[in-house]
Amino acid sequence: MEMKVILKYAGIVHEITGKLSEEIELGAETSLSDILRRLALQYGLRFKEHVFDYKANKPAPQILILLNGKIIQDYDRKINDGDFVSIMPMVSGG
């Protein structure tokens, strides 16, 4: 069963990936860390260093990973069809 997930990027993640948004298709039972690993392999060393270290299963210090707007810490969480995954730097008010 194919699922579609929408990825949103900002800040340095936007810089590294060259995009603000992309849609990817996944099989069922994909977890958040699966997606992040795939992105790290796709976008190379800079992604691993500045965004998500898939070996340590941890985001870089100033990176927020949100699932449908919520800060997520359990990367083994399974993703659903139509979910939004936002990968962005920590931002303040203004």
Binding site: A10, Q62, L66, N68, G93, G94
Partner: protein, 640 residues
Amino acid sequence: MVEWHGYKGKILRVNLTKKEVKVEELKKDWCKLYIGQSGFGAKILWEEMQPKTDPLSPDNMLISSTGPFTGTLIPGSGSISYQFKSPATEAWAETRSGGSFGPKLKFAGFDLIVVTGKAEKPVYLWVHDGTCEIKNAEQLWGKTVHETTDRILREIGQPEASVACIGPAGEKLVKFAAIMNDYDRAAGRTGGGAVFASKNLKAIAASGEEGIEAADPDKFYEAVMEASETMRKYFFQELIGGLGTIGLVNALNAAGTLPTKNFATCFFPAADTVSGETLAEKYLIKRRACFGCTIGCGRYAWVPFGRFMTPPHEGPEYETTDMIGIQSLLEKENLEAIIRANYLCNNYGLDTISTGNVIAFATEAFEKGVITEKDTDGLKLEWNNPNLLLTLIGKIAKREGVGNLLAEGVKRAAEKIGKGADKFAVHVKGLEVPAHDPRGESRSFAIQYAVEPRGACHMHPNWAGAYDFVPLDNGLKPHGLPWPPPDKFAETGVKRGVAYKLLALHGELAEMLGICRFYLWGGEDFGLTCLTPKRLATLYSTLTGFKMDEFELMKAAERVWNLKRCFNVREGLTRKDDKLPKRLLEPIMTGPTKGQAVKDPDGILDEYYEASGWDKNTGIPTRRKLEELGLKDVADKLKL
């Protein structure tokens, strides 16, 4: 003769009716109790203003105040705050701006100015060298903010002076007219511009050569250097300093919390076209800072060619971009129109947040058929129309046609229209909701929008997301901050009331000490590179000589926070006025946070009242709380 450090020790009192100027000594015991800036404003307005005063009458009081930190070497010391009764909310009003006006007021020799009465004809004040001159402003009435500033600087012959003034919108008593200073810095909210105009006061110019001393120069220098070095590693430097506040656009959109289409949703697919990155690429001239600032979030921008040609000026901020741009301009992105709109608002003297909010409201009202061409003199209101947006701004500033209705603010406009328009009038107490959404960003905003004395505000007393939107503790752990923070969408049962109380008091400290709030945010996990209550206490003690530790400082903040609440209680505001607008209880329509809504606003408020020591039914501070803060006389006055 008292020797003052940090403070100047002088209050300037100007009675415009009697054309009288008096200089008063600042009461020493006020310092440790109310600290300064809006703390002094709260004390004076509580003691001296009659309840139920008409805000546009000569009896309203207008206070321009600074804090002990203003104009010093402490980072972020460019600050001026005005306190009065708001014509928009009929309640407590405070509105703060950066730039140099606050510091120049202190160099002129004063901590604050209290203006009462009404001048016979338009005047401006020139405050300098320990005195104040009341000067004729008849030839300035009707002039834009930029032109007024240029002319006054020329007339007083002091090119280094700072001018705070109103524009044509204030003169027309628009309920959300701003008080501008240093050309483009705005004390925008709560209609201060209208209060200025109701007193026939066009501007205040400040200049002087007095200095500010420190009680313990060596220890103060040490504390300042420590704070300055810390701020070099400010956690948000790259975002706020590097891109400006407009840098929030792409990031908040990625997180699904960028209010769009009169708060119908929080997701704007074309956000990048009006982002900080696009501004930097196409329209930015240079970065700018307010007085004493290490962050430098100001943007000097222009539109050199085309339909929306705009001369160089400071702006646009994130709030402006979202409220004026994104809320009404949808698919057809247009950063140039936003820049031009910002320039117009700066010159007319309009609050961009309220202006944007009321225009989006009017557009939705027209879409729903609740107002028609009959009400708008044939003007067809629609989304995505940048030319219309600019036309409406002009009409509001001049109170022409439908502008006259909108100039009353979204609350009154909805009341006048009727037909259920109040369902999408997004305000609290009459102050329009800004570009931070409790549904998408953090439920802490649900508390702040409900209880902030001036109405719905994203920044007073603090940025409510500085806890769970991004996990930050701001140095509040020693004060009992629940840690780690809860899920940002969690409403009750997560000690949100306790956490928000501390966040609010920390923010109040910035509002009392006279610094910019951006300096407050940091996390222990990220080096705590911010002005924590502990750093503020060291700076305060070494600067002023009044020794206070961080707990005493937070207690002073609680005192002032409660005093402002009591001002509102005296005006008749209670729990019933701490209500979120209906739109924020409706689910977000698209994007990452689709479906989010504030589900239990009453439950959230209950928890906050409990944490604050306020009566759960009425929302009024209990006698016990007030006496604990040394405000027994206030409790007596309110007959609690």
